[in-house]
Amino acid sequence: MTWRDLCSWTRRRDSSESERRLESNLPYEGEKSKNQPNRHYAGNAIKTTKYTLWNFIPKNLIEQFRRVANAYFLSIAILNFVPSVNAFQPQVALIPICVILSLTAIKDAWEDFRRYQSDRKLNRRPCLIYSRSQQSFMERRWKDVKVGDFVRVLSNEIIPADILLLHTSDPNGVCHMETANLDGETNLKQRRVVPGFCDTNSTFEPQNFNSIVVCEKPNDNLNHFSGFEKGNKKTGFGIESLLLRGCTVRNTADASGIVVYAHETKSMLNNNRPRNKRSKLERKMNIEVFFCVLLLIFMCLIGAVHVIWLESFSTIPMYFIPNSDGTYTSSALSGVNMFFTMIILLQVIIPISLYLSIELVKMGQVYFITQDVDLYDEERDIRMQCRALNITEDLGQIQYIFSDKTGTLTENKMVFRRCTIMGTEYPHSENATRLALLAGETDADEEVIYQQNRRPPLFSLEEAQDGPARASARLPGNSSLHRSRVTAGASSCMAFSSPMETEVVPDETLLHLMENEEDKSYLDFFLAMAICNTVVVSTDTARRQGVTGRRNSALSSNPLECMEGLFSRATCCKRLRKSLEKLTCRRDSHAEPFDMGQTSFYDVSAFTNSVEGFDEDENAPGHRSNVNRRPRTGSSPAAPLEVCYEAESPDEAALVHAAKAYGFTLLERTPDHVTVRLPHGKELKFKVLDVLNFDPVRRRMSIIVRHPRTREIIMYTKGADSGIMEAAETQGDLDMYARDGLRTLCFAKKVVNEQTYSAWSIRRQEALAAISRKKELLMDTAADMENNLTLLATGIEDRLQENVPETIRALREAGIQVWVLTGDKLETAVNIAYSCMLLDHRDLVFTFNTESKREFSIGLVIDGRTLSLLLDDDLQTQFVELCSHCRSVLCCRATPLQKSRVVTLMRHRLKVMTLAIDGANDVNMIQAADVGVGISGQEGMQAVMASDFSISRFKHLKKLLLVHGHWCSTRLANMIVYFFYKNVQAYVNLLFWYQLFCGFTGTAMIDYWFMIFFNLLFTSAPPIMFGIMDREISAFMLLQLPQLYKRGQQTGGYRRSTFWIGILDAFYQSFICFFIPYWAYEGSDVDIFTLGIPMNTVSLFTIILHLAIEIKSWTVVHWVIMVGSVLVYFIVSLAFSALCISCNPPSDPYWLMQQQMADPIFYLICILTTVVALLPYFLHALRGTLMPSDHLKARQIDQLPPHRRDQFLREWRNLQELCASFPSV
């Protein structure tokens, strides 16, 4: 039973209630378990192992025999025990299947043992549980934690279970928590003590807790939780009071609470096993296996000839053996027997080791992909990960790529660009110039684009536009998701690769206006920017503490890694969700001179990097204030605390930084207060009355504060333009921003009078305490408040990721259609499409939206509403037809559901291989495609969790597809064809031919042990090595010539004809391998096993040399394995012949090999047979040299010296461009 089963089982138990009720365990401490109130809930010990010591063998066997192939081979082995049918000694015939089974079992056992180890490690972690008898928190182990226990977690410790926060050491009742282990988001999340229980001054006395906690049943939604506590009064709480298992407590000395979920924690329920997809090649291969079965049956029918042969004798010959009672089996029956005997004899035609070999090959391929240093992201210390282990070769056959934009094509790193306040536009041109310069320094290519397109287009608030659909596309239980929590992941400090980017040069005009007039609206605008967010302020020192702790915890052990072990089938597939330490270090290390003493704490390499990155500062001392100090804003350089912003979404960080540039520095945020320092040094402390968090339906967030001076209740709202009532004079500017590719956010303000607020507040409290309709009620109350707003606006830029245009161009050249499906506004989307070369300026762009139909050519831009029409049944065919004529398609304003429908439609209608790539949360789209790729980037990790492969940059897609995809699919296809060839050739046909001479009785002229060795020892390693390591064309050439990818696309490198050619070749070669020895020995006194030796040997030579012709690049490993295989053959054969006198009755291989190797005719036969058998294949392999394919040319170019190679490549590309410009020719 897996842990999931366990969970569902326990879940079933409390499914009698719609909610979970629990109370404190303390009054019942020491009592029997049947009196425990929370006994029905699973304990905290985790068990992810599949097997126990006792049930391993039976359970593993059952598991293995679920595979048809294994069952097939077992039944054949059993058939061998039937005396009238058997072809070999039954015991020996069991050996191959046993070897295969035990190899697999060892693999499974090892994996399970690793799971067990990590379980144990996790279960034995220490934690503090309150004990009534000791009147204090005692150290226990994680596995001892039960629902209803009181647990205290100290700073930098990992939370052992889902705990409802009841007390913290923080005077405000706040606890900070880092969720990097859970979702990869590195910013700190704030959790609050359950309201009403917040007795912050006194120490926490669990014994005084006598309420009943009622909460929802365990579920996997990390961002939603609701329940209430029923003591004297009913107090509601939500996710903001829940500490999640696996997260780390930061910046808080200690936090205590009651355990609500022990085993069924949200993090456990969120862990998914690696996905088990079947690749296209494998599906194709199964058909070949079926052909093999047919072939086998056909060949076995030759057994029937035995009957005819028998009939040709008038009397029974003396060498025909009667049954033990002296009678002879009737010829019909013996025909049937013969049929089965032949099946046993020729069973190898269906390769027993093929499936195991494919698995091994794919493991090797995955290993090499994840080891690729080019796919490693230094900035975030993330490797490429493979979650799906068995679709590596699908990467080589991609025809369509569907890409999201946010966080995929773009960095999702936001920079404040320009704003419009009360209808006046402030372009911030200085800032723009600086950013362009910065971009130019970091990436020369990008600068070109900047210039071409005025500004790299950014995009409007996707979260807002996607909102409703996102929610509707989710499972009902998840729909109350707060996107600001889920998706917007990066901390302010980490959202930028360079601290320079966080800086904003204030617009002179605006600054001037502000200083002179102190206009109220400007004040409001910047105040809103500074406080209307969920940014957490942490001091640098506090943050460092966090880092320190994390370093320690990383050293000791990371629960995530433990958990990872459980679900990963191979080490290479580990989930890498760990924090982005390097960046943190970098920021820290150059923050302040007095920090330098502390930097020794970190690795020197990190420090050196940080120094490099900071060279610019020395040239421009004025810019030295990186994060939070600007001399002109008047904040003192000697400020005692360095503030650092932990934002949940990059745009929030950008806005706070922008506000700071204008002197509005967010200093502190607690649940009750927000402190802002004004430009002139005054500090304003706002009392926070309420926060209406972001949700995708409202598409905005609000904060209600009481102004410290005017005592007014003010509500600031932030959201997408469509989320906030539109004001006419600003709309023009917003449109202009969108055209520039900027993402737009609007701020609004509302002054609320006291009566309205207090009335509203009561309803709000009720809504918060509700469980069943909490979501709707909260939404309603929020909507009640958020009306009659006054508008302000701003624009934010999202930078394009590096090398995106090059990657898209390369993918295009590789014959892959790239589509962008985004939720952005049309203008924003088109703009970004131009800048990433998805649309070319020479293209005629045909824009579809319901209002206008312009002229059409190659590029197609579709609006979301139109898309929904096109996806209707009656228009689908035309839509697909239209799309197939387009070079590029851009869908904007598309909902996640539409995205996945588009992918599904193209996949089914055009029968193409599709790849979906997303950096955030479009799980639907990723799962709809054949291959899902997630970008582990700034936003949430949902896409990554659902993906088959996760990379950290869009540009990595190029190498992943063009190189690894190409390699994997070519290797695997070649390997499979070779495998079929090998099995047909090696014995099946040799044995088959021999039947013509032994009365079709199923005699094998090769000792059965040799056969076993042959398949398991002599010829198993080369194809596996071939499948993992062969390299037809170097990575360099594949990247230089993307068109080489096209071959894999059309055929997958594996055509049915290839298979049949392989089989025909196998027939020819086996014919030669049989008949040359036959004729050479014809009429001589050769005995049967002596005949088998040269046949065996020439088979081996042919097979190995055949592979040698196939191998395109010989590395040391190739040599070792190929030569090793031949050596092992001779060594093992000689040893076996020398040792086995009568060990294998009734065949007698004693001294055969030695006898043969002393006989010259053996060598004459070996040479002649090998040459003749391989001649046609050699000629077949030669045919390419006459009309060299692109691949062959590329290989030849690759071998030239570098300068000539480059020259060739240039010529080739020129030629291609020439061809492309005259398509008719």
Binding site: L576, W967, G999, L1164, Q1196, Q1199
Partner: protein, 352 residues
């Protein structure tokens, strides 16, 4: 970028930048171009042709003579006699005359040949007990089940040697006589021992250990059904050639690969004239004790006299195959050359 220690440091997860892990191991990529392929082809062709010529010359110097005696000469009588199962035990002698047109120089091997006798049928092949033949007492008394139904006789006595192979042992015997044109007939002396593999005689086949006579060692066992004498009396002339280590038995027990086969019967003793140079040309007769019935399987029996070369008996296949192969490769090489010269411009372009 050296190797970063795993588990620590900011690049903790960075993969090793080693040639193996980055798949950048130095590789030799042979490419099939005319310049590499054609020389190999020509060389192969020359080697094959030369080998073929050498083999051909060798084979031309070997001699072989087959005499089918199934119904030849006086043997027709025996042949008819053996058709009748009742008469099976009656002995029958016959003589077949033949002529050797050309002297067989050197060592001459005397074989008996059988046609259409399938020693390679699966169940026939399996019908033996290696353990018994290697002299294990236990197997002597309780033969392996593979021997069924030739493991025990009708009295339940274990058969030694058991199994169908031993049971159907070829039991004709031959005496070869040379008729010189000028004098009295001379019996051709044959080594009847030393005709087995050394390892068979000394390792694989052993008599059951005994301190006394062989007969006592085999006490409690029965002779195979078709045999006329027990296994310890196979060679009345040479007591040390009896039991499981009898050369004829060993030769027979090595099952032939094909239905038409020959097995060694004896080797010419070249100690005395006129056989010191081999078998001289002339008339010969072979006297056969005709026991082995072949009509049941539509078979034939023959006597084969042969000299051997360094690679075996007279077999024209290998030299011809080498010659043909060499020729084919040569033709292929020429065709390739022509094609490359005529069409191969593209290929050349790529080379330059």
């Amino acid at each position: 970028m050296g190797k970063v220690q795993v588990g620590t440091g900011p690049f903790a997860r960075r993969p090793d930048n080693s040639a193996f892990k980055q798949q950048r191991l130095p590789a030799w990529s042979p490419s099939l171009t005319p310049y590499t392929v054609l020389p190999v082809f020509y060389l192969l062709a020359v080697v094959c042709v030369l080998l073929g010529v050498w083999l051909f010359i060798t084979v031309e110097n070997t001699h072989e003579l087959k005499v089918d005696y199934t119904e030849e000469g006086t043997c027709i009588r025996c042949f008819e006699l053996r058709k009748d199962p009742i008469q099976a035990r009656n002995s029958c002698d016959c003589v077949v005359n033949f002529n050797i047109p050309k002297t067989f120089p050197g060592d001459v091997f005397f074989y008996y040949g059988l046609v259409n006798f399938h020693q390679n049928l699966r169940r026939y092949m399996d019908s033996r007990d290696e353990d018994q033949l290697v002299g294990r007492k236990k197997s002597l008394k309780s033969p392996s089940s593979y021997c069924e139904p030739f493991a025990h006789d009708e009295h339940g006595e274990p058969i030694a040697p058991c199994g169908a192979i031993a049971n159907s042992m070829f039991n004709d015997s031959f005496t070869l006589t040379y008729h010189p044109p000028d004098g009295a007939e001379v019996p051709v002396p044959l080594y009847r021992r030393g005709i087995t593999w050394y390892t068979d005689k000394n390792v694989k086949f052993r008599n059951p250990p005994t301190n006394t006579t062989l007969q006592l060692a085999f006490q409690g066992t029965a002779q195979p059904l078709f045999w006329q004498q027990p296994v310890y009396e196979l060679d009345p002339a040479d007591p040390s050639n009896n039991g499981f280590i009898n050369d004829d038995l060993i030769v027979w027990m090595r099952e032939a690969a094909f239905p038409n086969f020959k097995k060694l019967y004896g080797i010419l003793i070249r100690a005395e004239t006129p056989f010191s140079e081999g078998l001289p040309a002339g008339n010969y007769s072979v006297n056969i004790i005709y026991n082995f019935p072949v009509q049941y399987f539509q078979g034939r029996k023959e006597v084969v006299l042969s000299t051997v070369s360094w690679f075996g008996g007279q077999n024209h296949f290998l030299p011809i195959a080498y010659l043909v192969t060499g020729g084919l490769i040569f033709i292929a090489a020429i065709v390739l050359t022509v094609v490359y010269v005529k069409v191969g411009r593209d290929g050349k372009n790529m080379e330059e």
